[in-house]
C-alpha cells in the first residue's frame, strides 16, 4: 500500500495533475473539486486510487485529477473498473463515465455491474448531451431537445440511470448537482466508503452544448434530501423519489448493505490477485495433468 503522504500537504492539491482546460463554467469543475475534497477528507492517497474514464469531455478527468488513471474506450468504463477491482480490492476504483458513455453505449455493463454488486464507484457527469462530439442528444437529454443530431427535437423518454440501477440491484444510488459542491463532497465520501456497487449521477451543466439544463434551470428544480447519514433501505421510497416529475431529488436515494461481488467470489480477499507471486507451480499443474492420464 502506498505510503501516507505528509499530513501537512494533505489538501486538495495533492490530487492535482494539470490545470483543466474544460470550458470555463463547465459542471465538470465542480465534480473535480468535489472528488478532490472527498479524497482528502477520507485521507486517501493518489497511489491507492484508480480513476477509469470513458471518452467524452468527462474523459479528461485523469488529466487533471492525480491518481492512477485509465482513459479507455467509450462506454467501457465499468468492465475495466471491475477488472481492476477484482484483482486488487485494496484499490479505490472510481469510474467516471458520461451520460453518453454510461447510459448510451455503456449501459449494459453498468447494469450488470450493479447486479453483481461490484465494489466500484461510478460517477456519471450527466450533462445531458454528447459534449465532446459537439452536441448531439444523449439518452438523458430532455424530451424535445433540438441538437445537431436531432434537428426536430428528441422524442424519446429521457433515461434515468438511477432508476435502472435500482432495478438491477445496485446497493448505493445517489444524485448530486455540480452546482452544489459541498453536497457532492458528502455524496462522494459516502460512495467511496460504500462496499458494493455505487452509482452517483451528477447533474452537470454543459455551458456550450446544452442551453436548456443550465445552473439556473436546475437551481429551481432541485430538492436536497436532508441527510446523507441515515438512508433507508427502501426501494419503494427510492422509486417514488425517482419518479417525481416536478423535482430532481438530490441525495442518497437508496443504500443497502450486502456482500460485494469481490467478497463473494475471491478465494482470499486479503491476498490480491495482482500481488500474487507467480511461479510455474509445476507440482500443482502436474497434479492436474494427471487427471487426464
Amino acid at each position: 500500500m502506498p505510503i501516507k503522504s505528509d499530513l501537512a500537504k494533505r489538501n486538495k492539491d495533492l490530487f492535482s495533475r494539470q490545470p483543466p482546460t474544460w470550458c470555463p463554467g463547465c459542471g465538470l469543475y465542480g465534480i473535480l473539486e468535489a472528488l478532490k475534497r472527498a479524497a482528502v477528507s477520507l485521507e486517501l492517497e493518489p497511489a491507492e486510487i484508480v480513476v477509469v474514464t470513458g471518452i467524452g469531455c468527462h474523459g479528461r478527468f485523469p488529466n487533471y485529477f492525480l491518481s492512477y488513471g485509465f482513459h479507455g474506450l467509450h462506454g467501457r468504463v465499468v468492465p475495466v473498473a471491475s477488472g481492476i477491482k477484482m484483482v486488487n480490492p485494496k484499490l479505490k476504483v472510481i469510474g467516471i463515465s458520461g451520460d453518453g458513455d454510461a447510459y448510451s453505449i455503456g449501459l449494459n455493463h453498468l447494469l450488470h455491474a450493479a447486479r453483481r454488486n461490484s465494489n466500484i464507484l461510478i460517477i456519471v457527469p450527466n450533462n445531458r448531451v454528447f459534449a465532446l462530439t459537439q452536441g448531439q442528444a444523449s439518452p438523458t437529454s430532455p424530451r424535445g431537445f433540438v441538437s445537431i443530431s436531432t434537428p426536430f427535437g428528441t422524442v424519446e423518454t429521457p433515461l434515468d440511470g438511477l432508476k435502472l440501477a435500482l432495478g438491477a440491484g445496485a446497493t448505493f444510488i445517489a444524485r448530486g448537482f455540480s452546482g452544489e459542491v459541498d453536497h457532492l463532497v458528502s455524496l462522494f465520501k459516502a460512495g467511496l466508503s460504500h462496499s458494493g456497487f455505487a452509482l452517483i449521477d451528477v447533474l452537470s451543466p454543459c455551458i456550450t452544448y446544452n442551453k436548456i439544463n443550465t445552473y439556473d434551470w436546475y437551481k429551481k428544480r432541485i430538492e436536497i434530501l436532508p441527510s446523507t447519514e441515515e438512508v433507508a433501505n427502501d426501494k419503494e421510497q427510492a422509486w417514488r423519489w425517482l419518479n417525481r416529475e416536478d423535482r430532481f431529488v438530490l441525495g442518497i436515494l437508496y443504500m443497502e448493505v450486502r456482500d460485494s461481488f469481490e467478497q463473494l467470489i475471491l478465494s482470499d480477499s486479503k491476498r490480491a490477485i495482482a500481488h500474487l507471486e507467480l511461479h510455474p507451480e509445476k507440482e500443482k499443474v502436474f497434479r492436474l495433468m494427471e487427471k487426464f492420464i
Partner: protein
C-alpha cells in the same frame, strides 16, 4: 487405391465410428471408449461431428487408436456402431474392407449397396434390452461400450476403473454399479452375436504415462501454468471449455473466472485486470472475436498485456458453431482499426496448446500488448493422446516490470518512456511513485494526451519497434521432411497432423515432401519461409477455408521466386482435412 494398401496390419491402427442422433449420448460413449483405449496403452484420437442443436440431428464420433503416435482420424472405418439407419446411410460408404457394422434394431438389413460385400453387418439390439433391464434407453451407451470391448478384445478391468472414476465422484456407488451391469450386458451380448472371426485383439501396454485431452483443456492448463489468475469470458462454442475447465480449479491457485455480460466486457475486464497487475485472459470464437476488435486495439495502444484464445468455428456470422474451420486467420492480424503490435500464435498439437499458452503470457508481458492464441474447433475440442506431462518445465517471464522499490528509486515515473527496444518499464496501481495514466488517445511518455506530430511519430515508432525487439523470443516454425524434397507444404494449426500423415503416405510411395508449420502467424516468419522455399519448385498451401487466407498472408509477406509453382489446397466443408484428402490433393496438384 494406394491409401487402402497403406492401411497395414489392422491390429496396429483401428478406427471406430459411433453414429446416432444428438441426445443419443454418442459423445459420452465415444469419450469413454477413447479413454479406455488410451488406458490400454494405445494412442487414441477422436473426431466429433455434432449439430448445434440440443437434440434430434445426426451426429458421429470417431475414435482412432494406433500403436504409433497419431494426431487425427482417417476416412476409413473398421468398426461402426450405428444407433439408427440414417447413420448407416450416411456413413456406410466409409467402411473399410472387412469392416464390421453393429446396428441397433433391425436396420442392419438395409445396408446400402455401395458398401463392400466384405463388410459384415450385424443386428445388435441395444435400446430394447437397455429399456427392459434398466428402465432407460440411455443405458444403451454403456452396453455399447461393453459390446465394443468384447469386439476389440479388451480386458474389463481398466474399463471398470474408468467407469468408476467417471461416475463415482458425481453420482455414488449405486450408479456405478448399474452402469457396470450395462457394460457387462453389452459384453455378453457381444459374445452371443459377434462372430469370433470378426473380433480384434488389441494388446494391452503398461507404459501408461500418457494423457488424453482436448486442445481447449491444454490451453486452460497452460494458462494455469503461466500464472493466469484472472479469466473473464462470455460463453461461446467451441471456446467455453477453456474457462469452464478452469472455473472450478483456478481458485486453488488464488485466481478467479468470471462469466460476464458479453465479449466487450470480457476483453475490457481482462485488460483492466492486466493493467492492475494480473495475468489475465479471455477466450472466444468468431462472433465474439469480431466484438473484441475495439478493445484489442485499446490493449495495443495503452500497451497492456492480455491474452485472447480464439477457437475458430465455421463462419461467416453464426455459421456452424459446432464445426471446424480456419476462416479467421487474418482477423487478428488486420482486423482492428489502427496499427499496433500484436502477436498471433497458432498451435498445431495438444502440447503446443499448452506451451504456446505459456509463451503467450510471457510474450504479452514482454511486448506489453495483446497476444492471441488461435485454435480451431478440431484442435480445441477433439481428444488426442499425448505424453505426460505436457511440458517438463516452463518459465514465467514478466518482462520489464518494476518492483515497488525500483519505482520508488525512479525520480519521475514515465509509463511510456521511450527506450531503445521500445519497451517501457511497467508498474501497477497501488504503488507510490509509480502513478501514471494509461491513455487510449495518442500520448507522450508521461501518458498525457498529445496531438504533437513529433510525439505521435515517436510513439508510433516506439510501439512498433517492440515487435522487432521481441522477435528473438517468438516461437519459431518447425520444418519436417528433407530440405531437398520436391514438394513443399505450408500449413498452420490443426492441419499439422493430417499433413504429416499425408507426407508419410507419400514417403511410402517414394515421394519426398517437406512441411513448414507456421507456429507464429504474426509477426509472420518471412525469413524462415523464404529459406524453406529456397530451391523448391512446388509449393502447396493447405488450409481449411475458402479464400486461402494463409496463402494471402504468405503472398503479402514473402516474395515468391517466379520459378515456384504455388497451389492452394483448401477445404471449406465444415470439417478438417483427412490425411487421405491431403495425400490425394498433393498428388493431384504436384503431378
Amino acid at each position: 487405391m494406394k491409401i487402402e494398401a497403406i492401411k497395414r496390419a489392422e491390429a496396429i491402427d483401428v478406427s471406430i465410428l459411433i453414429g446416432g442422433k444428438a441426445g443419443d449420448g454418442v459423445l459420452f460413449t465415444g469419450n469413454i471408449l477413447a479413454r479406455l483405449l488410451k488406458r490400454y496403452g494405445w494412442w487414441a484420437v477422436t473426431y466429433r461431428d455434432f449439430p448445434s442443436n440440443i437434440r434430434g440431428e445426426g451426429t458421429q464420433y470417431v475414435i482412432r487408436a494406433s500403436l504409433e503416435p497419431i494426431e487425427n482420424c482417417r476416412e476409413g472405418v473398421d468398426i461402426f456402431l450405428a444407433f439408427d439407419c440414417e447413420a448407416i446411410k450416411k456413413h456406410a460408404p466409409r467402411l473399410n474392407k472387412g469392416a464390421l457394422l453393429l446396428c441397433d434394431g433391425a436396420d442392419a438389413a438395409i445396408l446400402p449397396t455401395s458398401v463392400s460385400s466384405e463388410v459384415v453387418a450385424i443386428a445388435f439390439p441395444l435400446r430394447q434390452p437397455a429399456k427392459e433391464k434398466f428402465g432407460k434407453e440411455l443405458y444403451k451407451n454403456m452396453m455399447a461400450i461393453g459390446a465394443l470391448s468384447y469386439l476389440l478384445g479388451l480386458e474389463v478391468n481398466p474399463l471398470e476403473d474408468i467407469v468408476r472414476e467417471l461416475f463415482f465422484e458425481k453420482k455414488g456407488e449405486a450408479v456405478v454399479e448399474t452402469n457396470l451391469k450395462a457394460v457387462y450386458l453389452g459384453y455378453e451380448l457381444g459374445q452371443k452375436l459377434i462372430p469370433k472371426n470378426k473380433r480384434w485383439f488389441l494388446p494391452r501396454f503398461t507404459d501408461n504415462r500418457r494423457m488424453i485431452l482436448m486442445g481447449d483443456e491444454a490451453v486452460a492448463l497452460g494458462a494455469l501454468a503461466a500464472g493466469c489468475r484472472f479469466f473473464a469470458a462470455y460463453p461461446i462454442c467451441p471456446a467455453s471449455e477453456i474457462w469452464q475447465w478452469l472455473a472450478p480449479r483456478i481458485k486453488d491457485f488464488g485466481g478467479v473466472v468470471v462469466q460476464v455480460e458479453d465479449e466487450l466486457a470480457a476483453l475490457n475486464m481482462a485488460i483492466g485486470a492486466a493493467y492492475a497487475g494480473a495475468r489475465a485472459m479471455t477466450a472466444t470464437s468468431g462472433p465474439g472475436a469480431s466484438l473484441m476488435m475495439e478493445a484489442f486495439s485499446l490493449a495495443g495502444m495503452i500497451e497492456t498485456p492480455v491474452v485472447i484464445a480464439h477457437v475458430q468455428r465455421v463462419g461467416p456470422s453464426t455459421g456452424l458453431p459446432t464445426k471446424t474451420q480456419q476462416g479467421d486467420l487474418l482477423q487478428w492480424i488486420f482486423g482492428a482499426h489502427g496499427e499496433f503490435p500484436r502477436i498471433v500464435l497458432a498451435p498445431g498439437s495438444i502440447e503446443e496448446c499448452f506451451t504456446f499458452t505459456v509463451s503467450a503470457f510471457n510474450l504479452a508481458e514482454k511486448l506489453q500488448g495483446p497476444v492471441v492464441i488461435l485454435l480451431d474447433l478440431d484442435l480445441g475440442q477433439n481428444l488426442r493422446t499425448t505424453h505426460f506431462p505436457l511440458a517438463q518445465d516452463w518459465i514465467i517471464d514478466r518482462g520489464k516490470l518494476l518492483s515497488a522499490d525500483e519505482v520508488a528509486k525512479n525520480k519521475e515515473y514515465k509509463r511510456y518512456l521511450i527506450t531503445e527496444d521500445g519497451i517501457s518499464p511497467r508498474t501497477f496501481p497501488g504503488i507510490s511513485g509509480g502513478i501514471h495514466l494509461v491513455e487510449s488517445v495518442e500520448h507522450g511518455e508521461n501518458g498525457l494526451r498529445s496531438e504533437d506530430p513529433e510525439i505521435r511519430k515517436k510513439m508510433m515508432e516506439k510501439r512498433m519497434r517492440k515487435l522487432l525487439s521481441i522477435a528473438p523470443n517468438l516461437i519459431p516454425p518447425i520444418i519436417f521432411g528433407p530440405p531437398e524434397a520436391e514438394i513443399a507444404v505450408i500449413g498452420v494449426g490443426s492441419t499439422k497432423g493430417p499433413i504429416l500423415e499425408a507426407l508419410k503416405f507419400l514417403r511410402e510411395e517414394g515421394i519426398q515432401a517437406k512441411f513448414f508449420q507456421v507456429r507464429t502467424l504474426w509477426p509472420f516468419p518471412t525469413r524462415e519461409v523464404s529459406e524453406f522455399l529456397q530451391g523448391t519448385r512446388q509449393l502447396v498451401i493447405v488450409e481449411n477455408n475458402y479464400t486461402g487466407q494463409l496463402l494471402t498472408l504468405l503472398q503479402s509477406q514473402v516474395c515468391f521466386s517466379p520459378n515456384l509453382k504455388v497451389e492452394g489446397l483448401r477445404k471449406y466443408l465444415p470439417d478438417n482435412f483427412t490425411p487421405e484428402e491431403i495425400y490425394r490433393g498433393l498428388k493431384q496438384l504436384c503431378q
